[in-house]
């Protein structure tokens, strides 16, 4: 019964100029090992590029990674663009160097969860499995 399976598709993205991709790549691999299909955008993505890829790839989840401190600026832009394209049903999560005190703001802006330093990959996998909505 192989052909018919619904796979969770995740876009792992690096918005902005931050070049540290160790975490993004480790998470991408862990998601693959959990049976998901992962599209990694590479570095220096604008919010527009991220959303364009997310729409074309019909992903269920967008994972944003930022370690340069520009998350408060960039993450909400991605969410806003998704809204513009009537795609707010895509689950947006984030990680990187993000202080706890920024999390309420980001969640208000529509980022559903933030995975802070020290979080294990299984926490990310479990969160996605639990919260993804397959349309």
């Amino acid at each position: 019964m192989m052909a018919e399976e619904k796979r969770t598709r995740v876009l792992v993205a690096k918005p902005g100029l931050d070049g540290h991709d160790r975490g993004a790549k480790v998470v991408a691999r862990a998601l693959r090992d959990a049976g998901m299909e992962v599209i990694y955008t590479g570095l220096r993505q604008t919010p527009e590029q991220i959303v364009e890829a997310a729409l074309q790839e019909d992903v269920d989840v967008i994972g944003l990674s930022c370690l340069s401190g520009a998350h408060n600026h960039l993450f909400p832009q991605v969410v806003a663009l998704l809204k513009q394209h009537q795609a707010e049903d895509i689950l947006v999560v984030g990680g990187g160097v993000i202080p706890d005190e920024d999390i309420p703001f980001l969640k208000e802006q529509g980022v559903k969860e933030i995975f802070t330093p020290g979080t294990g990959t299984n926490a990310v996998v479990e969160y996605i499995k639990k919260n993804v909505v397959h349309r």
Binding site: M1, M2, A3, E4, E5, K6, R7, R9, A28, R29, L31, R32, D33, A34, G35, M36, E37, V38, I39, Y40, T41, G42, E48, Q49, E52, A53, L55, Q56, E57, D58, H85, Q86, A87, R135
Partner: protein, 318 residues
């Protein structure tokens, strides 16, 4: 749950997201795909379908991106289907071809989609074939399909596309003896990429020599071109060769032959899917486990299979 009627309307209106969601729909389920494609009717015009295949590291993605860019500049509407292998253990995949398409970012007339091979060992999964079918309705003038370069069953790709481009790298000539015979036969166009490396010309000549051995089998000689995909060198020659091949296919009726073959393959695939699904549905209803009793004995598997099928037929026809 998405209503497929609504989806088909949005799809036919040209909405990008609807196209993306439709691809997911047909990729995930043969049954849903069948329903959906019936709703779409008959495509207005069939696009040219190009398959790009070859071993890993040959630069297929970069070449595909360059070809697409040139076609876009010519005013074409292009779809790219990029296939990457799935993990045989988890079924998941990292779809890493899109990252090379950066030159196409923001260009409205190109649609890029990454697909996992979903377990099929190289070559094309039935799902990918369904997606290709769907893209025929997308108003694209050209679809480029880039396949998994494992060197395994890439021969599949020839049955799904109009023109097969095989990409190799210099030095491959030395391993050409080791290359699967199939790959030499399926190429309509051979491209030696990374031609700025030593041995590019030599590799091209070696490939020509090997192709020469098959001349009788082929009706159109296979051009062997050299490119440096990263700089764009040689790309216009490849496009010309593609155009020539398309022209040949059209005038020689070969195109029709190939497309009928493609439909044949889709038909077989769908029939197989329906039968297999029905078989397992029966097994579930009947509480019959489709599993061997013990690890040994090949003969036992064969008898078991035949027995199960017999019960299935009886149930379905009785």
């Amino acid at each position: 749950m998405l209503s497929i009627d609504k989806l088909s309307e949005r799809f036919l209106s040209g909405e990008t997201r609807a196209l993306a969601q439709s691809i997911s729909l047909v990729e995930d389920s043969a049954k849903e795909a069948a329903k959906f494609l019936r709703l779409l009717g008959v495509p207005k015009a069939l696009p040219r379908v190009i398959g790009v295949t070859g071993p890993p590291g040959a630069g297929k993605s970069t070449l595909t991106a360059r070809l697409a860019l040139s076609l876009l500049d010519k005013g074409e509407k292009v779809a790219l289907l990029l296939i990457d292998p799935s993990s045989p253990f988890t079924g998941g995949a990292i779809l890493g071809d899109r990252i090379r398409m950066h030159d196409l970012a923001g260009r409205k007339e190109v649609f890029i989609r990454s697909l996992s091979s979903r377990g099929s060992l190289g070559g094309l999964s039935a799902a990918a074939i369904r997606v290709l079918r769907l893209l025929e309705y997308g108003d694209f003038s050209t679809i480029i399909l880039e396949t998994v370069g494992t060197g395994q069953a890439e021969t599949d790709v020839v049955e799904a596309v109009d023109t097969v481009v095989v990409v190799a790298v210099p030095g491959l000539g030395d391993d050409i003896q080791a290359m699967k015979a199939g790959i030499m036969e399926i190429a309509d166009i051979f491209v030696v990429n990374k031609a700025d490396r030593d041995g590019a010309e030599r590799t091209a000549r070696q490939i020509e020599a090997m192709l020469g051995l098959q001349e009788e089998k082929r009706r159109l000689p296979v051009p062997v071109l050299t490119t440096v995909a990263t700089t764009g060198q040689g790309i216009s020659e490849v496009l010309q060769a593609l155009d020539r091949h398309t022209a040949y296919l059209t005038t020689s009726q070969e195109l029709t032959v190939r497309r009928v073959k493609r439909r044949q393959k889709e038909l077989y695939a769908y029939v197989k899917d329906l039968l297999v699904d029905d078989f397992f549905a029966w097994a579930k209803e009947a509480g019959r486990e489709v599993a061997p009793n013990s690890p040994q004995g090949a003969a036992e598997i064969y008898s078991l299979a035949e027995q199960l099928i017999a019960e299935y037929y009886a149930e379905r026809t009785g």
